[in-house]
């Protein structure tokens, strides 16, 4: 593609063939020299093996989504070739293991067989097959092989034999495609002038919460949230810190509330099935007014569903995880960078309004490795709850506003009671008291109206309003629509409950609000409709993210359907 300044490379094969680490390697190497990159991974939920693929998108400009078409496919077996070759664009390249038989009728793409494993063995490091691939890749994308060599030298510093073997593998791979032309000119890297981090969504979430003062973590392993547990168990260690694996999600949520009650900034992370199990406990947190944060890294549902695929189908559950009248705050991260700030905001909101806060992430963000603007810790302000310091005889639940919270060990003993209660926390089922306490619990949400939102071209009567991890694809689709001269507004916020009031007011003024979301029901669109916004969903439930071009086309279809008068239905007698 002439003038193309970016590429997508996909690696497909069996788990254990180095497929999982290949895309991350490309992204790391490319971002180290100043390009922008992000990865996408999907693999089966099993110990080893199974069909696995990952891809990296590399560009001179910041990257927002995994990318639409594949420029280079690396297929390690027949199945991978058959499954993925259709996604490779015309003019693209397919690198194959010689054991794979390509489709002889394929004229549009170049197919190059390279004996990855055999060449790796020649280097004396049989695990260097990936470096053979990288060597060939460097030629095809016109990126000097020296970049990769430099990265290998830094990564394996001090291990000269490994460096030597990997450098040799890069050269062997390069030699295999010596006569081939590059498919594009990526151009010189365009290094951003700000400090950067190369990080995955789950790690960014963890760090954001830690930056806001998190000091208690408990969780149960579940894909794709487990990395948060592992990160905390390694790093939330030492004086005054606690990270621990629970025996179930039910235990995790109950212990979370116990810790919040005892004065800790406490968090857990789970995914759909575990999140459902936590429902009753989250209701108890709402009722007893205990600060805590619950992350739901969404996967395909319901039940066991699609554990290693991406979906945005837990929104309605997140808004109402428990039985009874409640409205739990929900913050949905849309990018890896936003994962960090979602962690900060969630801790702060929980401390401020004294209750549970939900963070929604999703598989595609959790596993996405990306270069982001490094968060400036000097700008991060961690809030802490107002703690009661008076004398005993305090009525913790009196009044209609958030009130100072007594902490065990200090003054103001009370009972955190899941039954409806009086000011002290003793059980009362009087109607008048239930009314008062219900008002108290809901009125505290007004403390959470400070979430910011993005807006562009606000005069347009039609708006595109994505949420969560569909943000990146939607932003690219939006740019395509604008380039096509279509008059459409853009709104976006992480803060789904409570919605920023000014945003809601603007959305209510639109003739049509289009919500791209990865679920069948059109969940956010239905939430917006319940708030008097004329919203319609653009849905997808394939387990994969939106492709920007497809999304742009679907927006156009919706707009066309709206302006074309519908043919009257002919009723036959």
């Amino acid at each position: 593609m002439a003038g193309q300044r970016e590429f997508v490379v996909r690696f497909a094969g069996e788990g254990g063939q180095g497929v999982v680490t290949a895309a991350e390697f490309v992204a790391r190497a490319a971002t180290t020299v100043g390009y922008h990159a992000l990865t996408f991974a999907t693999f089966p939920s099993q110990i080893l093996g199974g069909p696995t693929w990952t891809q990296a998108r590399v560009s001179r400009e910041p990257v927002k989504s995994p990318g639409d078409a594949v420029d280079i496919l690396v297929a390690f077996n027949d199945y991978a070739y058959a499954e993925h070759q259709g996604d490779v664009r015309d003019g693209g390249v397919i690198l194959l293991d010689p054991s794979v038989s390509p489709d002889a009728s394929d004229k549009g793409r170049r197919t190059i067989a390279i004996p990855f494993d055999e060449l790796a063995k020649q280097t004396g490091e049989s695990r260097a097959a990936n470096m053979v691939v990288m060597g060939a890749l460097s030629k095809l994308i016109n990126m000097p092989v020296g970049y990769f060599k430099e990265f290998v030298s830094t990564r394996f510093a001090g291990r000269d034999a490994v460096i030597e073997a990997n450098h040799k593998a890069l050269d062997l791979g390069l030699a295999q495609v010596a006569g081939e032309s590059a498919i594009m000119d990526l151009g010189e890297p365009n290094r951003p002038d700000y400090p950067q981090s190369f990080i995955k969504g789950n790690d960014a979430l963890s760090l954001g919460a830690l930056a806001a003062g998190l000091n208690f973590y408990i969780g149960y392993p579940i894909s794709p949230a487990t990395p948060v547990l592992l990160y905390m168990e390694r790093n939330l260690v030492g004086e005054g810190k606690f990270a621990y694996q629970a025996s179930s999600e039910i235990e995790a949520i109950a212990a979370l509330l116990g810790a919040g009650f005892a004065g800790r900034k406490a968090m857990t992370a789970t995914s759909g099935p575990g999140f459902t199990l936590m429902g009753e406990g989250i209701g108890l947190g709402w009722m007893t007014e205990i600060p805590c944060v619950i992350i739901d890294v969404q996967r395909g549902g319901p039940a066991t569903g699609l554990p290693t695929k991406t979906e945005q189908s837990d929104l309605l559950t997140a808004l109402s995880p428990a039985h009874g009248d409640s409205s739990v705050p929900v913050i949905a991260a849309g990018t890896v960078e936003e994962c960090f700030y979602a962690g900060v905001w969630a801790i702060n909101w929980a401390e401020r309004y004294q209750g549970p806060v939900i963070i929604l992430s999703e598989h595609s963000l959790a596993e996405r490795a990306q270069n982001i603007r490094k968060p400036d810790l000097a700008q991060v302000k961690g809030e802490s709850r107002s703690v009661y310091t008076g004398s005993n005889g305090y009525l913790r639940y009196e009044g209609l506003e958030a009130s100072p919270m007594p902490i065990p060990g200090g003054p103001g003993a009370y009972i955190a009671n899941g039954s409806e209660h009086d000011g002290y926390g003793d059980t009362t089922h009087l109607g008048s008291r239930h009314i008062q306490m219900t008002h108290r619990r809901f009125s505290k949400l007004e403390l959470l109206h400070d979430g910011p939102y993005e807006s562009r071209n606000t005069d347009a009567s039609v708006a595109l309003v994505p949420w969560g991890g569909s943000k990146g694809s939607a932003e690219e689709a939006y740019d395509l629509l604008v380039a096509d001269g279509i008059d459409v507004a853009w709104y976006y916020t992480m803060f789904l409950n409570p919605l920023p009031p000014a945003l809601l007011k603007e959305l209510r003024s639109k003739d049509l609000v289009l919500v791209p979301e990865l679920n069948y029901l059109g969940q956010f669109a239905s939430v917006l409709r319940s708030k008097s916004v004329k919203a319609e969903a653009i849905t997808q439930y394939t387990g994969l993210p939106f492709k920007a071009h497809e999304l742009a086309e679907r927006v156009k279809e919706q707009l066309a359907a709206r302006t074309t008068p519908k043919a009257k239905k002919v009723v036959q007698a």
Partner: protein, 260 residues
């Protein structure tokens, strides 16, 4: 709890009572005098709430109060993990062999063939032997008391709070409305009823697990300290022992490790 405060010179505010749902859980609202902190949560989850409270602040004295329905039916799954961790709390289990609050359904400790509102043709399940269960799961302090003998009971509870690990004081606590078995426990000579409760012999060595297992299988309700293992480290002492093992875990260093 009051005795514990005196013994350890700790303020009442350092005590937290975590209550289950059921008649027993209401205890948290019925304490007289200076009040401890209380957490009256959801059915079956008193133990995991206590896990969070204790590990949130290991200086607190945490006591769970729950009944046989809450603790041994819906909450059964939580006993084993706390026993394995040796969570340093005390659970006082009031066993009345029935669901009293919901008006008389069978519980795990209701006798087989017993007719209750939910077992109109007699209970079909074998009753659980709670003391045997606790020993099997590895609870490091197990005592058995009786609500009619409050002085002994108070001693076991104080002992349990003193014990450096997971302690359970199981209390035969008849429900006078739905399952009044005082007569069976105490016996009644005039009616020829042999008492089911019996005192554990004074020469019993609570550190002897083999003898403890035999005791709880001798039938009836043995009263006294069944078992105590003071050697196993508790979870909070294990966590405290990690101090110094951590690497550089301040947030700035953690963030810098992702630098490009």
């Amino acid at each position: 709890m009051r005795d514990y405060m005196v013994q350890y010179e700790t303020p009442m505010a350092n005590n937290v009572v975590v209550a289950g749902i059921g008649c027993s859980g209401n205890l948290v609202h019925l304490l007289e005098g200076e009040q401890p902190f209380g957490f009256h949560g959801i059915h079956g989850r008193a133990l995991p709430i206590a896990l969070g409270v204790k590990m949130g602040n290991p200086d607190l004295n945490v006591v769970v109060v729950a009944g046989d329905g809450d603790f041994l039916s819906i909450g059964m799954e939580h006993i084993a993990p706390q026993a394995a961790r040796n969570l340093n709390i005390t659970a006082v289990i009031m066993d009345n062999g029935v669901y009293g609050l919901t008006k008389g359904q069978a519980s795990p400790t209701t006798a087989a063939e017993h007719v209750t509102s939910s077992t109109p043709f007699g209970k079909m399940e074998a009753p659980v032997n709670p003391l045997d269960l606790y020993l099997t799961l590895g609870v490091s302090y197990v005592a058995s008391g009786y609500s009619s003998k409050p002085r002994e009971l108070a001693k076991y509870i104080l002992d349990g709070m003193d014990h450096p690990g997971f302690s359970i004081v199981h209390v035969a606590s008849p429900c006078t409305t739905y399952n009044d078995n005082y007569e069976q426990l105490k016996g009644n000579v005039s009616k020829g009823i042999e008492p089911t409760a019996w005192a554990i012999p004074e020469d019993h060595d609570p550190s002897d697990i083999t003898r403890a297992r035999a005791l709880v299988q001798d039938g009836g309700v043995p009263l006294g300290i069944v078992y105590q293992n003071k050697e196993r480290p508790s979870l909070d002492s294990r966590i405290a022992g990690l101090a110094g093992r951590e690497k550089n875990t301040d947030v700035a260093s953690l963030l810098n490790s992702f630098d490009l």
